[in-house]
Symmetry: C2
Amino acid sequence: MKQVIIIGYGPAGISAAIYLKRAGVEPLVIGKDFGALEGYSDLIENYYGFSKPIEGKKLIQEGIDQAKRLGIEIIQDAVISLKIDDIGFLVVTSKHRYHAKSVLLSTGKTRTTLNIPGFNKFRGKGISMCATCDGYFYRKKKLAIVGCGAYMLHELEYLNRISQDVTIFTHGNQLNADIEQKIISDPIVSFKGNEKVTHIETTQGMYEVDGVFIALGVPSSVDFASQLGVIVEKNNLVVDEDYQTNVEGLFAAGDIIGGKLQIAKAVYDGMEAADSIYQYLKNK
Amino acid sequence: MKQVIIIGYGPAGISAAIYLKRAGVEPLVIGKDFGALEGYSDLIENYYGFSKPIEGKKLIQEGIDQAKRLGIEIIQDAVISLKIDDIGFLVVTSKHRYHAKSVLLSTGKTRTTLNIPGFNKFRGKGISMCATCDGYFYRKKKLAIVGCGAYMLHELEYLNRISQDVTIFTHGNQLNADIEQKIISDPIVSFKGNEKVTHIETTQGMYEVDGVFIALGVPSSVDFASQLGVIVEKNNLVVDEDYQTNVEGLFAAGDIIGGKLQIAKAVYDGMEAADSIYQYLKNK
């Protein structure tokens, strides 16, 4: 049982980890990629303290190394789902399962999106980003899951209980699982429909669907948070002045809570959230 | 006429300068020393982005170099007074005078103090840190100014109008001015009195006084701000959510406004204050 699991090892997550460690709490930090700064082609010039501009990727690595040097446990893994069970928060990654008394979401704002015609049009109209959130509305319907890895399997596990008619669309990706469902591996070229999505068109054919669940890559923090009933406004997680969401013990910091998408703000958020998490654990 | 003068080149001041420059405003930054981080003997480990601990002094220098590289004007000079005249804010340094439409105070919290018996006891009881603030109460009284440089001269100029009986105590320092007042150069050993201060005791003698004005070194931001009538609570400048003091156009950020005395907070403050100053100048 961890005291706190921090999901995301960018500026907000690492800043929080450093302050928590200093306060005597041992955080576990789980990160998977370098978020918004990963492909940041410009050099960073506006974050205080660097006489020479620094690459986004380099800054993230500096932060990770800084935390490791202070003895903070950091693992590189993709979080597949976040749940609450009898023990506490259950964080499921592609490799492990962890329990924690509290969780900080600080993954930044990278959002799963699909550059396929019809995706934006039918998102929320038959296309869902979250089986746990929307699966209920598709009982015994003809369902599709777009995905190929652990995230897809997670969504499949849930949707299997809802419907016997689930097809997996790998969208040209290699399937990393042994499953009994029907599998379409051709790339998807468009989502078709009228008011709602009715068909998936691939390079090889046209498939009828009632609901499509996107599970490519890994879910975003907004996806996790939605699963737990966190209030989301304009794609930002809503937090109170203590950086706590409406779910007790679930905190969020950095770009994911909105405001200025700046490193200085993420670092500040992390520091403040650490303080709140410390108080939360102390009072618990 | 400058758009904005930033007093202090620590994390808050430089962060503000960088964001203002980015927004198309040309700030002038005036700093005199390295503030709270100057003599910071420990290495800084909790400010995000540095895999190896960094010395306070080195971080300040990095920040100054960062700003200079971005073309920001920075001068090293001591600010002696801050006033408002017909033109705008008047910033007087030991070498020059500058006018500005707005001012950001970000000097940190180093506070003039005196390690002399009786100083704390009689502070506010005959011992004042600000001639402009308290001089009025000492009309035609026997006054002492403790100081030796430009700051002392600034206070003397004001107190000369109040009283003809002003003595300068250099407290063992060399006098850097040619003045007609009586000068006592022996080190002060104590301030004496009952309810209020009544005497200054030096290594050589005892001198009767009604009021003592401390003008050693350079005034702190709290001193400037007091001169302008800024609300101060618990030695913090009070600002609104836009980092503006109760004096229009006068902003403050960093340690001087209280809260966590952390670099992450100062940097964040600077960024946010820059935004407010930009809006202020735009609407003016």
